[in-house]
């Protein structure tokens, strides 16, 4: 026994050697490649801090080279910026995001025209945004140059827009300077010409006056440009002016449009509908409730309706 202990003590370095090599190889096989433990790698806090300090020092060694690189990058970026600015200027002429008259309080949803006609009497535009994007019928549609039309039907991901170029379309408008109001209608024919009717004869109309939305309807906010007066004509009955208007919106190349989503007020529309046509009110109310995601239980809903019915009647 004593001899064995003597032997171990005498050759202890062999055991220490084997132990240490085993530990080393254990590290090698368990940590290497997988880096399972951060303590024995550079991810360790102390080591990381050391390298932070080192890089803080050594980063100064390459400043000159880095400066040169930065300058080159700057130059490159400046060129790109210039190119992009040029593109922006080009795009502003037909960009949906640039609506000068549209105050920021109105939310707009950008959409692209996927289908449209301009040569039929009742033209329609199909855009690629629908109810899923918050678009509902009777919302206004504009492009960067001016008014396009009104949303007519919606599906989940698409909407059909009734543009100005539809004989059923009738958009209330006003003259920019005198604020006399009339209705914008379209007659078959040119895709860039519409007519403003019901402008009283005493209104001081000039050629090249701008026609804009008047804000009476709950579809468009006031002041959106529609077109420019090209010619002053008399209406068929001779009681009012009929202004030939060149539309700002270029329908033949229309691609990007914006839908004004939060301007129309359901409450106002219900009120107007009820005053115009009391029999329709129930259906209108139902649709309005659906639209505004009302959480009324159906019984209370009908109660409210009946109360309203009474007051109107």
């Amino acid at each position: 026994m004593r001899a064995l202990i003597d032997l171990i003590i005498k050759n202890q370095h062999w055991f220490v050697f084997l132990l240490l090599e085993t530990i080393s190889l254990a590290f090698l096989f368990s940590y290497n490649g997988y880096q399972k433990s951060v303590y024995f790698t550079t991810a360790n806090d102390v080591v990381g801090l050391t390298y932070d300090v080192i890089s803080g020092i050594t980063s100064h060694l390459h400043l000159e080279e880095e400066n040169r690189e930065l300058e080159a990058t700057n130059e490159n970026l400046r060129k790109q910026l210039h190119a992009i600015q040029q593109q922006m200027i080009a795009m502003q002429q037909d960009s949906t995001k640039r609506l000068p008259a549209l105050s920021p309080q109105y939310d707009v949803v950008s959409a692209q025209v996927v289908n449209m006609t301009i040569h039929r009497p009742n033209n329609l535009i199909t855009i690629n945004k629908g109810e899923a994007d918050g678009i509902h019928p009777e919302m206004g549609v504009v492009c960067s140059r001016g008014v396009v039309g009104i949303v007519y039907m919606t599906s989940r991901h698409y909407s059909i827009v009734m543009p100005i170029l539809n004989t059923n379309s009738k958009i209330s408008c006003r003259l920019h300077n005198s604020e006399h109001f009339g209705s914008l209608v379209w007659q078959r024919g040119d895709a860039d010409i519409a007519y403003v009717t019901n402008i009283p004869r005493h209104a001081p109309v000039k050629v090249k006056e701008i026609v804009e939305t008047n804000g009476f309807s709950d579809i468009f906010p006031a002041g959106l440009p529609i077109g420019i007066v090209q010619k002053i004509e008399d209406s068929s009955d001779g009681m009012a002016y009929m202004l030939r208007v060149k539309l700002f919106a270029n329908f033949s190349t229309l691609r990007e449009v914006s839908v004004i989503t939060n301007y129309s007020s359901p409450e106002r529309r219900v009120l107007e509908m009820m005053s115009e046509n009391p029999e329709k009110q129930d259906s209108v109310l139902n649709s309005q409730e659906k639209r505004s995601d009302s959480i009324h239980v159906s019984t209370t809903g009908t109660n409210e309706k009946s109360v309203k019915n009474d007051t109107v009647r």
């Binding site: 370095h13 190889l25 290497n32 024995f40």
Partner: protein, 171 residues
């Protein structure tokens, strides 16, 4: 005893800092990196406690590993080097030297010292790069790294020795 320990500790951290800051950033021909950390073990005098030498070797290696993300490679190599250092030093020990002489070209003669360092560095780099590659595919690269690293590190260690010893001699 304690002053020897302190000197070793200072030497350990000095070599470690130089290794991490300077020599780890050398990649001669893209793959030759000198492991100057081995200088730490070259300096141990004759008849050092073998167990102590092994522990020093292991600690040196593991510290290098932590800073280089080479877990286990350098510690295995350094431990093996520490194991063989006394034997190799015995081979080149001059007959007239004292029992606990410190290896240097002054005490051993330039040629002996050079050979001693070369053999130790070959061991260190051999084990380290073989473990690093852990395959014999592209063995030529591994062999180039071993021989290149051995020669480069030996030159660096001789240079350090010349600097240190010549200063001491002047004093």
């Amino acid at each position: 005893m304690s002053s020897t320990f302190l000197i070793r500790l200072i030497r350990l951290f000095t070599t470690l800092i130089f290794q991490v800051l300077v020599f780890n950033n050398i990649h001669l021909f893209g793959y030759i990196t000198p492991l100057v950390i081995g200088y730490m073990l070259v300096c141990f005098h004759h008849n050092t406690s073998r167990t102590g030498l092994l522990v020093w070797g292991f600690v040196t290696g593991i510290l290098f590993d932590i800073f280089s993300n080479t877990a286990g490679m350098a510690s295995a190599a350094c431990t093996l080097m520490a194991m063989l250092q006394p034997t190799i030093l015995n081979l080149f020990a001059p007959r007239d030297a004292s029992e606990d002489f410190t290896p240097s070209f002054l005490s051993m003669g330039f040629f002996n010292y050079l050979t001693y360092v070369l053999i130790l560095m070959f061991l260190l780099h051999g084990v380290f790069y073989l473990l690093d590659a852990f395959t014999l595919v592209e063995w030529s690269l591994t062999i180039m790294a071993i021989f290149g690293g051995t020669i480069l590190t030996t030159l660096i260690i001789i240079f350090i020795e010349l600097l240190v010893r010549s200063k001491k001699r002047k004093k």
